[in-house]
């Protein structure tokens, strides 16, 4: 699936849930599915600032393909980063940077987070883009 197709699929998936609580339920499940982030990778350089909760994002590059891994101490935040990883992991830097990341607005994630949490989301996206830029 191309990145754009994957983004559209997520937008469609989210539109099926009318109630925000159901969307959270979905994010919580996504969060729970994200596993095996090593404790040794929970270092300050991988920590993303701007959230009440802590988020760690690590990555590996193989043959031009960037693979992300992440963890958070809060499950909804973990669900959000899991969603982002689902979209952007396993892609090239060029693919990642071709996205305008409007998917988070289209699924209503941004406007439904408090500003403090929206900052966290912006920081997560910023980190993903920075990593992509460094690997162009």
């Amino acid at each position: 699936m191309s990145l754009q197709e994957a983004e559209n699929a997520i937008i469609e998936e989210f539109s099926m849930y009318e109630e925000w609580l159901d969307k959270y339920e979905y994010l919580i499940e996504l969060g729970k599915s994200l596993k095996d982030y090593p404790e040794s990778e929970k270092t300050d350089d991988k920590l993303i600032k701007g959230c009440q909760s802590r988020v760690w994002l690590s990555h590996k590059v193989e043959d031009g393909i960037i693979r992300f891994n992440a963890d958070s101490d809060a499950i909804i935040t973990k669900g959000i980063i899991s969603l982002l990883i689902g979209l952007y992991s396993g892609r090239t830097a060029q693919e990642i940077l071709s996205s305008d990341f409007s998917v988070v607005e289209k699924i209503g994630l941004k406007e439904n987070l408090s500003p403090t949490r929206a900052n966290g989301l912006v920081s997560m996206i910023g980190r993903i883009r920075d990593i992509a830029k460094c690997n162009l």
Partner: protein
């Protein structure tokens, strides 16, 4: 008069969020505004908007009167000895900064000591730290025990001949226990140490009598007390305020100004430099009127019923760890509960409760040292006001259970 009548005086309480009735349980951060406060602010803005204390014209006179009447109302509210002892500030934080600076300039030098407690809001820590750094003084800390009660028996050892002031919160915004400030003041005074009481929460929940407390400074914010935001009060004993240099220089705080020498206006204007937030400050009078109405109508029983219900529910749930548990019969707990839930992040809980229409606080609550003391990165806090209902408390408990289930 019942709680529904009280509710009808607060327009914000009838709104909905995400299609659900708003349950506002973040009152310790800021309270909702009573209609009379909103009306007063609008009235001054619409009819009597003029710079206070300066001009002789009619509008200026009206604005000045509204502002000064609020000062009289605050004097009565705190039972201060005189109106000169009531200084308007932009809030608790500004008032503490004023004292830390001006008192520090006059009375603190290198090697001196300042005492705060482990339960303080950052606003009652950082200004003292800044002052200590400027003066080469040392900050000392009175600890809290595992229940969140101040270890006041350690105070005697903490006070030394170098102690110049103690700052203590009347009620912590995290723990919700009324601290024995009267005893603390007495102990400090025995050794000649003045005391500043942070009344940001205390002024909301306790009947304050500064002469009876005998504290040297008492500070609070209007916005937690149903008044407009950007308002606050510094009560200071006249002898201290007289002996302290001004905090800020500017218009209206002066006697005569020449380039060689400036003399200062008498109290309280000496500490009110520049154009004041008069339309907002004036609303303190209406807010105090509202509080007096509450006190006259004996709604305490209902209010305390909500507190007891939440205290029982939260302490009897094994998944929940409550911080600030009254340990003896001496401690009074206000309806403010900070807690954590095993294996569940406070932010997740707050987010889900928000979607259920319930506004609560999550995070460090501007008290990082206290978070460290209890070994947590943050907590969830519910804080109840006299306009909240038992039904809201029951709905909250139901939603909390549901949120915990979703997240475990």
């Amino acid at each position: 008069m019942d709680v529904n009548y009280i509710r009808s005086m607060f327009p914000a309480l009838s709104r909905k969020v995400y299609g659900k009735d708003l349950v506002y349980f973040d009152n310790a951060a800021t309270s909702q505004r009573v209609q009379s406060v909103i009306d007063e602010w609008n009235r001054i803005s619409a009819e009597s908007n003029a710079n206070i204390h300066r001009a002789v014209h009619r509008l200026a006179d009206e604005a000045t009167q509204a502002y000064e009447q609020a000062r009289d109302a605050v004097r009565g509210f705190l039972n201060a000895g005189s109106r000169e002892e009531i200084v308007f500030t932009s809030g608790t934080t500004a008032a503490i900064n004023l004292v830390a600076f001006s008192y520090g300039e006059a009375f603190v030098s290198e090697g001196d000591e300042v005492i705060v407690t482990e339960a303080e809001h950052h606003s009652n820590i950082v200004p003292w730290q800044l002052m200590c750094r400027r003066k080469g003084a040392v900050l000392k800390v009175l600890p809290v025990d595992d229940n969140g009660c101040l270890e006041t028996d350690k105070l005697d050892d903490l006070i030394s001949p170098r102690t110049k002031i103690m700052a203590v919160t009347h009620i912590s915004n995290v723990l919700g226990i009324v601290n024995p400030v009267r005893d603390i003041v007495r102990k400090c005074h025995e050794k000649g140490v003045p005391v500043l009481v942070d009344g940001a929460q205390g002024a909301v929940h306790c009947k304050v009598d500064v002469q009876d407390l005998d504290c040297d400074f008492y500070v609070f914010s209007g916005h937690k007390l149903y008044a407009a935001t950007g308002t606050g009060v510094l009560y200071g004993k006249k002898r201290w305020l007289d002996a302290m240099p001004p905090y800020m220089g500017g218009g209206e705080m002066v006697g005569t100004v020449t380039f060689a020498e400036t003399t200062f206006a008498p109290l309280p204007m000496k500490f009110e430099a520049g154009t004041q937030n008069f339309a907002s400050a004036a609303t303190l009078k209406q807010a105090i009127k509202f509080i007096n109405l509450l006190n006259d109508n004996k709604l305490e029983e209902y209010y305390n019923g909500i507190r007891d219900y939440l205290l029982d529910t939260l302490t009897s749930d094994s998944r929940i760890r409550l911080y600030g548990v009254p340990c003896g019969t001496n401690e009074e707990k206000i309806p403010l509960f900070s807690f954590s839930v095993d294996g569940v992040h406070h932010e997740d809980l707050a987010l889900i409760l928000d979607k259920m229409g319930i506004a609560v606080r999550s995070g460090q609550m501007c008290a990082e040292p206290l978070m460290d003391r209890f070994g947590v990165t943050g907590m969830l806090r519910v804080s109840v006001a006299p306009y909240n209902t038992m039904e809201e408390a029951e709905y909250f408990v139901k939603c909390l259970n549901k949120a915990i289930e979703m997240l475990s």
